[in-house]
């Protein structure tokens, strides 16, 4: 029995230790980002390429996810609210949950799965095929060349995508609420303006901003962590998605408890 507990504690300790070390490396990586992001050359072309691939290429899927989320939320809220005859509040409740939670979090999860993984795969592949070494040998800092544009673009693209999620989600909710659930259009809109504030939008956008930064940071970090072998790239990609998503969910809680106090 004592032996068992000893082993349990030892393996728990080892796991914590490994993760703390990993966290330390991520922090070092983040510092390297802040060091290089403010130093020339500023490669705008790479930034725009990344905005295109993180932002523009995710537009459709984000809009689709937004529309269905808004629609299903309207349904769910309606059937609950109807019981206590407050179905006129469907609009603001859906919008508030979209603005503060669902838009940034779901956008974050989707982008972590889509862009975070492809960042890790791209950089990981470049690592194992010595393309990263080639950059360094030419005298180009690989973090500055590969990580900086991706992280900056990710940080800026996510709030935009989240805003699109929110707008499309609202249309979805409005559409279902007024066409399928027969809530009066005028009431729906007036309740919306009564209960929605700019702070709620800001709440969601701030979250999205942080999520974008973290997802891109983690995606590029695991790319650089990849070592020899093709299975290394697969593992790096996998870890980028898993940790990207988990970090989004954990940060969501932390940010929420913080933002509700200041906004």
């Amino acid at each position: 029995m004592g032996q068992f507990f000893y082993q349990l504690v030892a393996s728990l300790g080892a796991a914590v230790n490994a993760n703390v070390q990993g966290l330390g490396r991520v922090c070092t990586f983040m510092l390297s980002f802040f060091y290089w992001v403010v130093r020339p050359p500023f490669r705008l072309k790479l930034f725009f390429e990344q905005m295109y691939s993180i932002g523009y290429q995710s537009l459709f899927i984000i809009a689709l996810a937004g529309a269905f989320t808004g629609m299903v939320m309207a349904f769910q809220m309606y059937f609950g609210f109807q019981l206590i005859s407050v179905d006129s509040l469907v609009g603001p409740v859906v919008t508030l949950s979209l603005a503060k939670e669902l838009a940034p979090v779901l956008t974050g999860l989707i982008v972590a799965g889509k862009a975070g993984s492809s960042m890790a795969a791209q950089i990981g592949t470049m690592k194992v095929t010595e393309q990263v070494d080639a950059l360094e040998v030419m005298g180009i800092n690989s973090h500055q060349y590969l990580a900086v544009p991706r992280i900056v673009a990710g940080t800026l693209a996510l709030p935009m995508l989240s805003a699109i999620f929110l707008v499309v989600g609202n249309y979805g909710s409005y559409f279902i609420g007024t066409r399928a659930l027969m809530i009066d259009e005028a009431i729906y809109l007036s309740k919306l303006s009564e209960f929605m504030f700019i702070e709620d939008i800001a709440h969601g956008l701030i979250k999205a901003f942080v999520f974008g930064f973290v997802i891109a940071l983690i995606g590029t970090y695991f790319g650089f962590q990849v070592s020899k072998g093709a299975e290394g790239v697969g593992r790096g990609t996998n870890q980028a998605v898993v940790w990207g998503m988990i970090t989004v969910l954990m940060l969501d809680y932390i940010l929420t408890s913080f933002l509700v106090r200041i906004l």
Partner: protein, 248 residues
Amino acid sequence: MSEEIAIAVEDVTKKFGELVILNHLNFKIPANKITTILGFSGAGKSTLMKHILGLLKPTHGKVSVFGKDLGTLDEMELREFRRNFGMLFQYAALFDSKTALENVAFPLREFTKLKDSEIREKCKDLLLSVNIQEESFNKLPSELSGGMRKRVGLARGLALSPKIMLYDEPTTGLDPITTKMVNDLIVDTQNKYAERGMTTIIISHDVRATLEISDFVAFLDRGTIVEYSTVEEFRLSKNPLVQEFINL
């Protein structure tokens, strides 16, 4: 050897933690010659090369390139300094999202103020000089054969007119015909740029292919140079390790 010295490695020791990879290493690479560094896998060849490029710092000792002690250069100066080097990686390491021409153009775009048309002209010349024909200029690396990729990689390495060309395992794992092609390429490059100075360093464990074209051979074993001589002397070396390696 009384020639000009390109690279001087003086009493260099490199440890990774407790592990000693380079052990009081001393040797000088003459300028304008082809020098090969041979050694078994894990001997520390790549580590040595990274020291020459200033990508790793020695735990002890110093590395100088053309008389300049790399230890005295800061990060930015080192990056600047690395433009003296061109490098051909084992698998060419072409950027796989860029065409052959754009790969060669890359260092020129990053480090020169040349106009786009001038860069394209220069890239065309470089690619033609390594026998890549016009119809392949706009192909992606994935559409090129292994031999062609190496040639494009060489053209990219030569783009900034380096004084020192490094070749990492240039012939390892290649068929005899491609091996000959790569060897010819190395010698041609050496000769073509001989006038303005070109030092070639080859890192390899392919003895047969490299002995044919080298002027000098250094044999690296467990972090030290155990044999360093001209090719003729090297073949006749009494060192049992060297003999074992040659007759592999």
